[in-house]
Symmetry: C2
Subunit: 350 residues, 2 copies
């Protein structure tokens, strides 16, 4: 796997020397959305200096992460007459990063791109690891490519303009890293949650850095998701089912993941892996972050249908990431259908 | 680069042991088109034996090699509830292979696929090398992925059901291999053309095998088309311009390549690389194969516009594959605009 640098800091968006190093290409397409463009595009373009820069805005929201939106990026690339020596800059959240990354993977069978994530969720998750793609009516991220960026530029300053709900949704992924990979980081999060919610710079920077480290380690060991990388999906198979069942509209990804984390903890407790007190600790942390701890009543059958459509199914056998203890995760199909049903019925109804 | 086997023979489509070896997967989607399905689908399904096999037909013709058609394959994959452990079988010509291969590259970020090319063009070109993709209004194959098949199964018998015009178009690519890579193969082609046009089995098998060898050697050295692989584009930058300017409708790809080969020879002669007698030798061989040796009058400016949109442009500098002598090719930008214009004006008009 090709490695690439991740820069994390306060004010990097206008760091001209860093941008020049990350993006030697003279022809760029910046893909962003209207909201982010208003806040950060001018600063980035200033930071990029003398180049030929085209920009293209895509609509904001997970429901626009689809092939039609992807096609508008192909149109923009072709209209700007960009060739293989050009690069894409993805300025925005996870939707912008995933779709723009897939456009970079597919345009002329692959051009360079740089991620400039502006949401906490994207900074700790989607911008790292090279997964790109779009949704399909049959499932989230069903279509895509593994395509590593040339680099990731994470400006903590962009989080100060982020709506509080989105910051909290991003914290769900940060909490996931503690739960699945690092009990000490989980302790730190419990102690630092108030600073994080107040956007305290040093706390955010550490939370993003530690999350990226945990993710990068697993991704490096396993770029194509055959083994260790699957652990990153803690809470996600449940979460994806909630998002799919609600059409990607009502719930932010991080909010769905938050409930998914609690559902994974709940099922782990039913297996005797976690104590009930561990589950309550997860619930309490999510509640302090004002994250949801109950799911919409989409029904067990419907949730199961979306879960078995998930990419993590192998040979018809549903495999879930569960918690042997807080701070360690394991892929398992070692639960019976009744235990899974009990968790689903409690959270999404019969 | 991952290597994969290419099997070439008469009657392989129903070779159950070979198919089992190439396709261990139990869940398959066969992508084909209506014409090919009528001729060969039943035989292939028999050869595949006991499996869960879904089939999906896409419309026939280069103009349907687009994102909309690709999306119908994603729909078929999702409808069949196929997961990462499934495989796609591409049964058909270059359009089927390219679109189905791109679907395999992108569905769930990459599943296995096997090429079963049923046209001469696909057997000697598109089915080998792992290039997949679709066209965009701005250019041919502008969107796609490098995704190697698990294997290629080439049944010479399918060529006996191929319309004569398509067989001849495929011969243009075969002639290309002689021109760019092997003077002795070019001699053999001149001596064996009548047997090839009569679909004589041994001649076809040798022509396909030798073409695949020449291509595989260059591709293995250079999967991502930075260097040697570019030589395979002999005649293609000219040919693509003709296809683009005529909307991919009137001309078969191989027919456009045939004229493109002659244009490359013509420009090579203007550079003093080839003798006029060499150009006439190329023209004579194409004419014996009933391939076109003159282009539609799309105009020099329009042709140039499509040529500079081509993926082979680097840093704004048009690079073409030209012939230092018959049997050897070289990527060059070492021609002046006047020489290129002279060739274009002769073939496509002022």
């Amino acid at each position: 796997m090709r490695s690439y640098p991740i820069f994390i800091g306060d004010g990097l968006l206008t760091d001209r020397a860093l941008l020049e190093r990350l993006l030697p290409q003279r022809n760029l397409l910046v893909v962003t959305n209207g909201t982010v463009a208003k806040l950060h595009l001018a600063a980035l373009v200033r930071g990029l200096g003398e180049r030929t820069i085209a920009t293209h805005s895509i609509p904001d929201g997970e429901e626009f992460k689809n092939l039609d939106t992807l096609n508008t990026i192909f149109d923009a690339l072709a209209d700007a007459k960009l060739h293989r020596d050009a690069a894409i800059v993805a300025l925005g959240g996870g939707v912008v990063g995933d779709v723009a990354g897939f456009a970079a993977a597919s345009y002329q069978r692959g051009i360079a791109y740089v991620q400039v994530p502006t949401t906490l969720l994207a900074q700790v998750d989607s911008a790292v690891g090279g997964k790109t793609g779009v949704n399909h009516r049959a499932g989230k991220n069903l279509i895509g490519a593994f395509h590593q960026p040339s680099g990731v530029l994470t400006d903590i300053a962009t989080l100060r303009t982020l709506p509080a709900r989105e910051l909290r949704a991003g914290l769900a992924e940060v909490i996931k890293y503690g739960l699945m990979g690092d009990a000490q980081f989980l302790d730190w999060l419990e102690g630092s949650l108030d600073q994080l919610l107040r956007c305290q710079s040093a706390a955010l920077e550490y939370a993003v850095r530690r999350s990226c480290e945990i993710k990068a380690l697993l991704v490096a060991a396993d770029e194509r998701e055959q083994g260790a990388r699957a652990l990153l999906n803690l809470g996600h198979t449940f979460g994806h089912a909630i998002e799919s069942a609600t059409g990607y509209r009502e719930w932010l990804h991080g909010e769905a993941v938050a409930v998914g984390l609690l559902m994974a903890a709940d099922l782990s407790a039913r297996l005797g892996w976690l104590a009930e007190a561990d589950v309550q600790r997860v619930r309490a942390l999510l509640q302090r972050a004002s994250l949801p701890t109950s799911a919409p009543r989409v029904g067990t059958a419907r949730a199961l249908e979306f879960m078995t459509m998930d990419k993590k199914v192998k040979g018809g056998q549903l495999r879930l990431v569960l918690l042997p203890r807080l701070g360690a995760a394991q892929v398992s199909s070692d639960f019976d259908a009744g235990q899974l049903r009990a968790t689903l019925q409690e959270f999404v109804g019969p």
